[in-house]
């Protein structure tokens, strides 16, 4: 039986004739897409973890200073916030990043022992801490990486604290964190009377008032009452806080550099391929192949490289996230589940990278005069 030659099979044969070069190029674009999936996946996990943290505790609004991580909100403002008719619960809190051992830094929260936010945590061992005592509770992921359990002692900023409980939180930002009594956090940072934020759980909106409008109204009212503070709906806060934005920027910046290198790799491969095949392109043109068909062939080869590299990159990215999820330094904020949208985005970027990289070689190949190309040695 005679083998059938389709246009796509022809493109594939052209790529496969230089197996090593094709595989190396695939490796290049695969690493670039892998970096994209890994880094952007990491930063989106981070954002998702923030949202989960708010959602699991039922926090609907965050009242903070204008600048993030600035622990300068007066704790006494809590009384006026609680007095607002729309506010069901208000919990003062401090957020910080503390060094717990030579290689583990953890998000650290200062909460009051009666904070409503404890409702979202499942205590796996031990008990809740008491205000005014040098006691801490560890998230299960953090307890695992520190090898600590209730009754053990850890040192924070030179002061000993007793681990009184280990909890599980829905969000990685809780499961990998340490929670101290608010007063102890204030003592550690000489921040008496100050907090980073008030987490608010609002009452449901009145009937007929849409959630968005309700949140905007409450926010405006709080900001009018406290001109130096910002009241931000939780979902918005999860995506626009500086830590998340920084992680997005770092992920995209690094990915773009990797993608640029990947694009250059494909462009180099396609340019060399077109040069080596000058006479063959001349043959195709002599046989009546139109310029657009020659361009399409070369672009199809480049797009195939991009797509195959994209698939490889998705696998590399997934593996990278798995590895990050195993490392104690990153395990607390990494989720190994990659959203389908991110995979589609990665594949789309890989395809686009192939097409961009193949455009110039394809155009040059199509411009070759058949006679000149046939003379090419």
């Amino acid at each position: 039986m005679a083998s059938q030659l389709s246009f796509t099979a022809f493109a594939w044969k052209n790529l496969w004739r230089r197996r090593l070069r094709t595989l190396l190029t695939l490796g290049g674009i695969g690493m670039a897409i892998g970096a994209f999936v890994g880094l952007v996946g990491f930063s989106r996990s981070f954002e998702h973890a923030w949202l989960m943290m708010y959602e699991s505790s039922g926090t609907t609004m965050d009242v903070v200073q204008q600048s993030f991580l600035n622990t300068s909100v007066d704790q006494s403002d809590g009384a006026r916030l609680r007095a607002l008719p729309q506010v069901e619960l208000a919990a003062p809190m401090i957020l910080n990043l503390l060094s717990l051992s030579s290689d583990v830094n953890a998000l650290s929260y200062g909460w009051k022992a009666d904070s409503y936010e404890f409702q979202s945590l499942h205590i796996l061992a031990g008990r809740r801490f008491r205000d005014g005592q040098p006691e801490v509770m560890l998230g299960d992921l953090l307890a695992q990486s520190l090898h600590k359990s209730p009754g053990d002692t850890i040192e924070i900023e030179g002061s000993p604290f007793t681990v009184v409980g280990v909890y599980h939180g829905e969000s990685a930002l809780e499961a990998g964190a340490v929670i101290l009594p608010l007063d102890q956090m204030q003592k550690l940072g000489s921040l008496q009377g100050k907090v980073t934020a008030f987490h608010l759980r609002l009452k449901p909106p009145p009937p007929g008032v849409p959630e968005d409008r309700y949140l905007a109204q409450v926010s405006a009212e709080i900001e009018k009452m406290f001109p130096r503070l910002r009241a931000i709906p939780a979902a918005q806060r999860a995506s626009n806080n500086q830590l998340v934005q920084l992680s997005h920027a770092a992920a995209w910046g690094t990915s773009l550099i990797a993608l640029l290198i990947g694009i250059l790799g494909i462009a180099n491969t396609m340019a060399m391929s077109v040069f080596e095949r000058t006479r063959e392109i001349g043959i195709l043109r002599a046989l009546g192949w139109k310029q657009w068909r020659v361009m399409l062939l070369i672009q199809l080869e480049a797009a195939t490289l991009g797509l195959a590299g994209g698939l490889l990159g998705m696998a590399i990215g997934f593996l990278a996230l798995r590895v990050l999820a195993l490392l104690p330094q990153t395990a607390t904020v990494v989720s190994t589940s990659i959203p389908v949208a991110l995979l589609a985005e990665a594949l789309g970027i890989a395809l686009l990278a192939g097409l961009v990289a193949g455009a110039l070689p394809a155009w040059r190949g199509a411009q070759l005069s058949p006679v000149e190309a046939l003379r090419h040695e």
Binding site: A2, F7, F10, I283, K290
Partner: protein, 221 residues
């Protein structure tokens, strides 16, 4: 008398900004079904004439008319080459990564058509060339004579009106040369195709019913 399939009027072709004149005013009429041999010394312009007849290149001045209409430019020339012209070259010009049967199909990818039809037609043509047992071989697994027969099958793939052969026996021994010319003339007679052969070989040129000699870019009277 039928109208000419090809008509050449005052054809000029120069290269290198006019410093090299390959053709200096060629006029020619070729009837449908003609077998024409073109010979001449190296550099006389015979291959250039063949390229212009086949729409591989465009003249500097003058016109080539196919069935009374001037050859167009760009995409029109591509269509002319894919549908009306079958090229056979001295160096065969087969694609090294494709099997014989795939090389024949490459020409058919230039025009719309179903893949299974392409494969079937390529198989039939190779069988006609006596290559039924060699159709899945790559060019480097074929002898020179077999390669040229694959190239002939490829030239016939889109059922063209005209076969243009540029030194088709230039890389062949005498036995294979005779075989290839036998095939070409057989096709010309059997299908009533127009066959134009550029050759150095006098024994081929002299056998053609019409023999044109070119010297210094002009047809000798």
């Amino acid at each position: 008398m039928s109208s000419p399939i090809l008509e050449v009027r005052d054809l000029h072709k120069s290269y290198d900004e006019g410093r090299i004149e390959a053709l200096r005013g060629v006029d020619l009429l070729i009837e449908p079904g003609d077998y024409v041999a073109i010979s001449g010394p190296s550099g006389s312009g015979k291959s250039t004439l063949l390229q212009l007849l086949g729409g591989l290149d465009e003249p500097t001045r003058g016109q080539v008319l196919f069935q009374g209409a001037p050859l167009g430019r760009g995409a029109a020339l591509d269509s002319y080459r894919s549908r009306q012209i079958g090229f056979i070259f001295q160096a065969f010009y087969l694609l090294p990564t494709l099997r014989a049967v795939e090389n024949v199909q490459v020409a058919m990818l230039a025009v719309p058509g179903a893949a299974n039809h392409r494969a079937q037609r390529a198989q039939t043509l190779l069988e006609e060339m006596g290559l039924a047992h060699r159709m899945n071989q790559f060019p480097n697994q074929l002898s020179a004579g077999e390669r040229q027969r694959v190239a002939i099958a490829r030239a016939l793939a889109n059922d063209p009106a005209i076969l243009l052969a540029d030194e088709p026996t230039g890389n062949l021994d005498s036995v294979n040369s005779a075989h290839v010319m036998e095939i070409l003339t057989g096709i010309q007679k059997q299908r009533g195709m127009t066959l134009i052969v550029v050759t150095h070989a006098q024994e081929i040129a002299c056998c053609a019913p019409r023999h044109i000699r070119i010297r210094d870019g002009r047809i000798e009277p």
